[in-house]
Amino acid sequence: MMVLLLVLPLLGALLMLLWPKVAPLLTLLTAAVCSLVALQLVSRVSEQGSLQILLAGWPSGLAISLEANSLSSLLILLTTVLQLLVALYAVATYRRDKLGAGFWPLSSLLQLGLTALWLSRDLFNLYVCLELLGIAAVALVSLSGDKAIKPALNYLLLSLFGSLCYLLGVAMLYGAYGVLDISALALQWQANLLSSAALVLMTLGLMLKAALWPLHAWLPAAHAAAPAPVSALLSALVVKGPLFILCLLWLQLAATTQAQAMAPLFSFCGLAALLLGGIAALRTPLAKNMVAYSTVAQLGYATLALGLLLQFNQPLFAAALWLFVLAHALAKAACFLAIGEMTATLGGKRLNTLKGASQTMPLAMFAFAVAGGSLIGLPPSGGFLAKWALLQGLWLQGDQLLYLLAIVVVTLLSAAYVFRVVALAFDRAKPVKPDFAPHIVPQWLALLPALAVWAMTLYSEPLLRLLKQEGL
């Protein structure tokens, strides 16, 4: 089943390269089949526990090991479903938006990279996946033409730098312990200078790639420059890949002393990201930049949850961390699709373009607002679930008033930037006229993930249970 998930997008991409004319169809087909398979994988994993494969049947250590636990399978499902959705959106708009033919194979390969990343439990294989992801992402960003080249290049260079830092860490660890498999490594792990240095290097590299504060500077430009479906994929999925590896490292490998030493820094970075990212999102005059900064801010939640998890070892924080990731992925995809659709239709990239959008493009605006609700954490959305888990954890831990206060502030900040847009959309004084009649299908497609993130709460109990016990 895992094999199918890996092979299908790859073969699909190859066929697309050979016959570009059928590429959209093939993308849809691949994504749809993969979604079904992923769904099956999720159900199987939840029934039978995690699945492990040693590739090519070699003994552990020599072979690359893959593991599909419930978290991985959920993330795979998320990836495939979003891929399907974005592909549908792209099919609906590619003629209008002049999306390059490269989009189809690239997005399929991106899916491959992500799936491989979620499954892999081998440090070096993860490096290859990271590179695959990075290059695919940059290639996708550069699709939108000349204006995107500079951010794309910047993104590529920083991403490469991050990967190389990670690679150095891998090399050091391999030099020290002689294994690459994470579970094997965890058995031999010692907290010494070498492992610490390796961890620091890997963390730096991964933080850079995941755009965690303060290494986020490349993200807004790159995400804003990309075409709408690409931004959706990037914000929703790509930045989560390095984050996933980061969590793997710190939760499975790092010794308690190391984790404890690092936790406050993560928490601090998370809070800073939330605050500064939120302020930036509030002040930026450009629509897509706003959403991109919001990604920076929202990633702060994940960092914060990671920090708290390391500090207190409370399973609720693990649940919060992954719920943030899931909810943010869905919500941000909806946001980018909606904003992209609106800016494309209304013709302009400044936020002012959205003036009166509630009138001209009600559906897209509604999608944005609904997704924004999850970003803020309004019940009963996925964002709320995550925040709830975080709050529960903090209250249970006791005496964490500073964090609670900070959470209140940043929640309000996120509300401020979401409703800044919404309020603008309700401005009926001088609404911006659309350049052409708004298309209805893309707007619905933007609405779907937004609704999905609210529907997440229907499965909150199993989700919480799974993620809590899993916690990586």
Partner: protein, 502 residues
């Protein structure tokens, strides 16, 4: 009633406004008839369902519907006496407001959107009333915020947008703080069903500080919507919304949601005994009293009709809080019954203000001179509403004030009677001049913007009938307070159930 209905009736009540609302969103502006009939269909189905539920609850039946949500806190809808009080209020006033809004917005743009959100807003309110535990309550509380925002900014002018932003800033902050409090309480005792007498008593010992913190947080969160003193700033600004919205906001949806939440919190979460044990009532009482006086005081100086009404709301809603905070049965009756009475009175006043604005273009109080002659029925309704607000018998307002006063004496807080007296004086001071202008002064000039809305009546019949309806209602509720159908006896039933376990 069959078990099926016992389970699904609460849901059906919510859906009866939600579904028409969602359908209305998709309608075109030109499909007026379809929209109106959908709206009215929803209203009538809801009324019938509520009536059924009312009958059953009176007979002592319980309604319970749940969906799995968070661990330890399902999404629960339950119909008990207290929730029915609010549900009945909102459904009946929804009827009035719907008709009013149809008339009010007859030729304005974006009506589908307006009515869609309008129905959403009512659904959220009803859901909030039927919420069976704190988490469900929180959920609908936030949904209410979201559903009302588009209504507040409906006009889309710079002023209304500013008001909308302020509204959001306040209510979302409140929501977040409430969420914090709910989470804290949840971490202590989970979120069981609302139970008369509260459920925190079990964990009281050793957790006093945390419980007090939770209470303070939740009151802060609820206080924003209930417009308690330092948190009331959004309410006067939100006046720029169209009249039906203001009416709904003030009478049913938003401020009442806050007040209702406080009732729930005090009686069904903490319970009287825990409130005593934690000594939480006194600060709340002080706060409410201060709000009452402050609201009345600020209302005096307002020159805009709706602003004056808004400050009046700030003051009047705190009567409910005060009644709850006094922790005596009589005061509780007063507070609960004021929930209904204030709603009916305030909606009447806002309807009237809307009528003046729509028919004659009157927004300022000084423009009201002699309006009693031009629009006698509306002016009469306004007078009745204002007298009710002052607490003049036989209007509904008197009944609630009477019970509140009795309650204050019962719990031996006679200074509260002074508060009521002062507030009553100020109420008179800001309402009587208005009445005076309407009836006793001659018209001072041409009306600012007169429109001829009807040949037969003083204004459009859809604007007039709801006003008449609510005005009559408010007198009937005062005069026939002793009957079984009156809110008063229902409030007594609730209080009896709440205090019986003591």
């Amino acid at each position: 009633m069959s078990p099926f209905w016992q389970q699904y009736l609460p849901l059906a009540i919510i859906l009866s406004s939600l579904l028409p609302g969602l359908i209305i969103f998709t309608l075109k502006e030109t499909q007026v008839k379809l929209r109106i009939s959908l709206n009215l269909l929803g209203v009538s189905i809801k009324l019938v369902l509520v009536l059924l539920m009312w009958q059953a609850v009176k007979a002592g039946q319980q309604f319970y519907f749940s969906l799995p949500f968070l661990p330890g806190a399902d999404l629960v809808l339950q119909g008990d006496a207290l929730s029915l009080l609010f549900v009945v209020l909102s459904s009946v006033l929804w009827l009035a407001t719907t008709i009013y809004a149809i008339g009010y917005l007859e030729h304005s743009p974006l009506r589908s959107r307006f009515f869609g959100y309008f129905s959403l807003c009512v659904s959220a309110t009803v859901g909030l009333a039927l919420a069976g535990n704190l988490v469900t309550f929180l959920l609908f509380y936030e949904l209410l915020t979201l559903a009302t925002f588009p209504l507040v900014v409906h006009r889309g002018t710079a002023e209304s947008l500013a008001a909308g932003r302020k509204y959001l800033a306040y209510t979302l902050s409140g929501g977040v703080i409430l969420m914090l409090g709910v989470a804290l309480l949840h971490s202590l005792v989970q979120s069981p069903l609302f139970t008369p007498g509260g459920y925190v008593a079990a964990v009281l010992s050793g957790n006093e500080g945390l419980l007090m913190l939770a209470f303070a947080l939740m009151i802060t969160g609820l206080g924003v919507k209930a417009a308690l003193l330092p948190l009331h700033g959004w309410l006067p600004q939100a006046m720029v919304a169209p009249a039906p919205v203001s009416a709904l906001l003030h009478a049913v949806a938003v401020v009442k949601a806050g007040a209702f939440g406080i009732i729930r919190l005090v009686y069904d979460v903490f319970g009287v005994e825990s409130m005593y044990a934690l000594q939480l009532a006194q600060p709340l009482m002080l706060l409410a009293a201060a709000t009452i006086l402050y609201g009345s005081w600020r209302a005096l100086a307002q020159q805009d009709i709706k602003r004056r009404l808004a400050y009046s709301t700030i003051s009047q809603v705190s009567y409910i809080t005060l009644g709850v905070a006094m922790l005596g049965p009589l005061a509780a009756v007063g507070g609960l019954v004021h929930l209904v009475h204030q709603g009916v009175m305030k909606i009447t006043l806002f309807f009237c203000a809307g009528n003046f604005a729509e028919t004659l273009g009157i927004h300022k109080i000084r423009e009201l001179n002699g309006v009693g002659r031009r629009m006698p029925i509306t002016a009469m309704a306004f007078t009745l509403g204002a007298l009710g607000m002052i607490g003049v018998p036989p209007t509904a307002g008197f009944i609630s004030k009477w019970y509140l006063g009795l309650g204050a004496a019962e719990v031996e807080q006679p200074w509260l009677i002074l508060v009521f007296a002062l507030s009553g004086l100020m109420n008179a001071a800001y309402f009587l001049p208005v009445i005076y202008r309407m009836w006793f002064l001659p018209q001072s000039g041409p009306w600012p913007a007169e429109q001829r809305l009807s040949n037969r009546f003083e204004t459009h019949w859809m604007l007039l009938f709801p006003v008449i309806f609510t005005a009559i209602l408010l007198v009937l509720m005062g005069v026939f307070a002793g009957t079984e159908l009156s809110p008063l006896s229902w409030a007594q039933l609730i209080v009896e159930r709440e205090f019986r376990h003591d």
